[in-house]
């Protein structure tokens, strides 16, 4: 129903626009100068005719169904009083399905009766909605239409409306982020009621699969000593370090080549290829790491007499490094290109060679951007999941040896949530706590990156 009304309001708006601008044009034809151009008057009428009505039907669509449910529950209070909350929900679902069509679990007399209530309330609601809608459309439309006059400052109203539409749109993105963060915090809080924060953040033992068999713990109680996040953080750091050791030099040097040395033909070929590298799904990188790189490293390690586990941090880190090369190179390339040609000319004019110019003028000038590119790549590596799930393993080791298996925060979140879980067990909630931890780390990195950029940013002109 909402969409029908919305479409109707679209028509209303077009008509109102036409009428409004037409009336304004008529005034203008009599050689009276208008404050706003006819188009603004048209938009003014359209906004007042359709805007409030649109807000109304949106609010109605949001609140009417639950209002209808509570009215039905009030009517049926005798029959539903005994039902528990899930039962009541099932009851209402079935009743609505009977009334409006849908898949019905099973029917009984009470549900049939409730369905009838639903149907009649729905009918009533529709009538009321249409009546109010018409009131808004006609009232707003008429009021604004008869206000059209040479003095009417409709341009300001229209501009302000545009601003509000823009504000609402940007608010959606912000509110979504806030919502996600809040739910992370809330669920993590639930987790920290079961497991002390310090045990989680500074604990060195991670094996949540044995949550209920921990030594010395009651059968039903949570063993708080097995939720130590340090091994996961250590694994994440190790793999990220390897990845950045691979990606930073390769990405940066290729960016320098692309921006300052490559001919335009080479550039036209290499840049898209690098972007293809960025387009490969991470799952492909994942099995590439697990099936090609890891066995290769293992075979190579055995040849020179090292013991390499089949899922090594090195394999995951190398492949992750390859994955983030395009990030580093493409972002650094942009930054290096943004260094003005005049600085390069100035350096060349003093007799500096190309590499001297790049080392001593271009790179220092581009440094803040390069640092932020690297930090963005690092936060990307920290949050990366698929490669490490496939190639890094599950063993929560604290080690600096890249040939051993380690596990990461993201891998453990996946492991905790795969399969059937209770939503309120410490094991499941631990995933939220890990998510919050991850969020905090990447947030800190991003803030740090912004800081660096701000502090060292150079005004070029």
């Amino acid at each position: 129903m909402f969409w029908t009304f919305a479409a109707f309001l679209l028509v209303v708006a077009s008509v109102a626009y036409y009428l409004g601008s037409n009336k304004a044009s008529q005034i203008a034809k009599q050689d009276i100068s208008l404050h706003s151009r006819p188009g603004f008057h048209g938009a003014y009428v359209a906004i007042l005719a359709a805007g409030p009505a649109l807000l109304f039907i949106t609010a109605w669509a949001m609140f009417w169904p639950s209002l209808m449910q509570s009215m039905v529950i009030a009517k049926m209070s005798d029959q539903v009083a005994a039902l528990s909350k899930p039962e009541l929900q099932a009851f209402l679902r079935d009743a609505q399905a009977i009334a409006f069509g849908g898949i019905v679990g099973f029917t009984d007399a009470a549900k049939e009766q409730a369905a009838q209530h639903f149907a009649s309330y729905n009918q009533l609601g529709l009538t009321v909605e249409i009546a109010i809608l018409a009131l808004f459309v006609i009232g707003g439309g008429y009021w604004s239409f008869q206000r059209i006059s040479p003095q009417l400052r409709s341009r300001h109203t229209v501009e302000r409306t545009v601003m509000w539409v823009l504000i609402v749109c940007s608010a959606v993105a912000i509110l979504t982020t806030v919502g996600i963060v809040l739910s992370l915090i809330f669920e993590s809080f639930m987790f920290f009621r079961k497991v002390p924060v310090l045990d989680f953040v500074f604990g060195t033992h991670w094996s949540p699969q044995s949550a209920f068999e921990g030594a010395g713990a009651e059968h039903t109680e949570t063993n708080t000593k097995i939720f130590g996040a340090i091994p996961l953080l250590a694994g994440t750091m190790l793999i990220t370090l390897i990845a950045i050791l691979v990606a930073a030099p390769i990405g940066l040097l290729s960016a320098i080549y692309l921006s300052d040395y490559a001919t335009s033909t080479v550039r036209a070929i290499v840049k898209p290829v690098l972007e293809i590298l960025a387009g490969i799904p991470t799952v492909v990188y994942g099995f590439f790491a697990a099936l090609v790189v890891a066995p290769f490293i293992r075979g190579w390690g055995e040849q020179i007499g090292l013991s390499v586990s089949s899922e090594s941090a090195l394999a995951a880190g190398l492949v992750m490094g390859i994955m983030i090369i395009p990030f580093v190179s493409s972002l650094s390339d942009d930054v290096i290109n943004a260094v003005p040609q005049s600085l390069r000319d100035g350096s060349a004019g003093l007799g500096a060679t190309k590499s001297e110019t790049i080392m001593k003028v271009v790179l220092p000038a581009a440094l803040p951007g390069i640092v932020s590119a690297l930090i963005l790549a690092i936060s990307r590596a920290i949050g990366e999941t698929m490669i490490v799930v496939m190639a890094a393993g599950l063993a929560a080791n604290i080690t600096a040896n890249p040939l051993e298996a380690v596990t990461t925060v993201t891998v453990q979140i996946v492991t905790l949530l795969v399969g059937d879980q209770e939503f309120d067990s410490a094991k499941t909630l631990a995933a939220f706590a890990l998510g919050l931890l991850l969020f905090c780390i990447t947030l800190a990195l991003n803030i740090f990156a912004l800081r660096v950029v701000k502090k060292y940013r150079e005004q070029y002109d």
Partner: protein
């Protein structure tokens, strides 16, 4: 490296050529020719930008290149230290000599050439480094200073010659980009002086500056003439008349006329020069 180290000392009176540099009306026909362009043609791709330009640059003179936009004066200036090499599609024909040596000869190292023929650009382009580092940049890459004290001396001398030292001596470690436009341009001149060039090319050095800063830079150019040979591209005829002893008028890629500045501005031979300097076109 063919750089006269005497230029880096603070004794400005140790200039290599003793000549009455302050007199604009000095007879220039007899002075030494520092650079010479013979039949210089420049092409950007298929388009020819300069047609058989023959121009002599005299030592310890200021030579100004004037002409309407797109006439090829900047292009000619940039051929003098091979800055056009950085443009892929640009091709230079003809001979350009510096002290009778062809600078487009394969045996010439462009790095050394640019150390001898420095350049100051239209827009001040200080590096995003400290004032000190901006000036020390050239001496560092050419290894001109043996010790830190040497380097500091070169920087101080260069800043003094560029008339900037007193304004910045207390804040040499502050970023060069924080200076005002005029100060930035003088910093760029100091930066060019620091490698002890023999010739300084200036591509409209005052076009981004206000009149006061322009006056300072012009005064500076006149002082620098004692020790350096200067070629300046300018759109301002007053500026050309004020600072230069020789003037060359370019039009549509051709060198129309060149001669003593006084002659060009009072008694031009060519109708086009006459029209341009009286403001009838351009």
């Amino acid at each position: 490296m063919a750089i006269d180290m005497a230029n880096t000392t603070s004794e400005t009176n140790a200039a290599p050529v003793a000549q009455d540099a302050h007199s604009a009306s000095v007879s220039t026909a007899t002075s030494k020719i520092k650079m010479r362009g013979q039949d210089v043609c420049v092409y950007y791709g298929d388009k020819q930008a300069l047609f058989d330009v023959n121009l002599d640059i005299r030592q310890n003179h200021v030579t100004s290149l004037i002409g309407p936009s797109g006439c090829g004066k900047s292009t000619f200036l940039r051929t003098l230290n091979r800055m056009n090499d950085t443009i892929d599609i640009c091709r230079v024909e003809g001979d350009i000599t510096l002290d009778q040596e062809n600078i487009y000869d394969p045996s010439i190292d462009v790095v050394e050439l640019r150390a001898r023929v420095g350049m100051v650009f239209q827009k001040p382009n200080p590096f995003p480094k400290s004032i000190f580092e901006n000036v020390a940049y050239g001496p560092r890459i050419h290894g001109l200073a043996k010790t830190k004290t040497d380097l500091e001396e070169i920087v101080a001398t260069s800043l003094q010659r560029a008339g900037l030292f007193n304004e910045v001596k207390d804040r040499l470690d502050e970023p060069g980009t924080g200076l005002s436009g005029g100060q930035q341009q003088r910093l760029c001149i100091a930066r060019a002086i620091a490698v002890s060039p023999e010739v300084i090319l200036m591509d409209e050095p005052c076009s981004a500056l206000d009149p006061i800063a322009t006056a300072k830079v012009e005064e500076l150019i006149d002082e620098l003439r004692e020790n350096y040979t200067i070629v300046i591209v300018t759109h301002s005829m007053q500026q050309a008349a004020r600072v230069s002893q020789r003037t060359a008028f370019f039009h549509m890629g051709n060198l129309v006329e060149e001669g003593n500045t006084d002659d060009i501005f009072t008694n031009p031979n060519d109708q086009r020069t006459q029209d341009y300097i009286t403001g009838r076109f351009g």
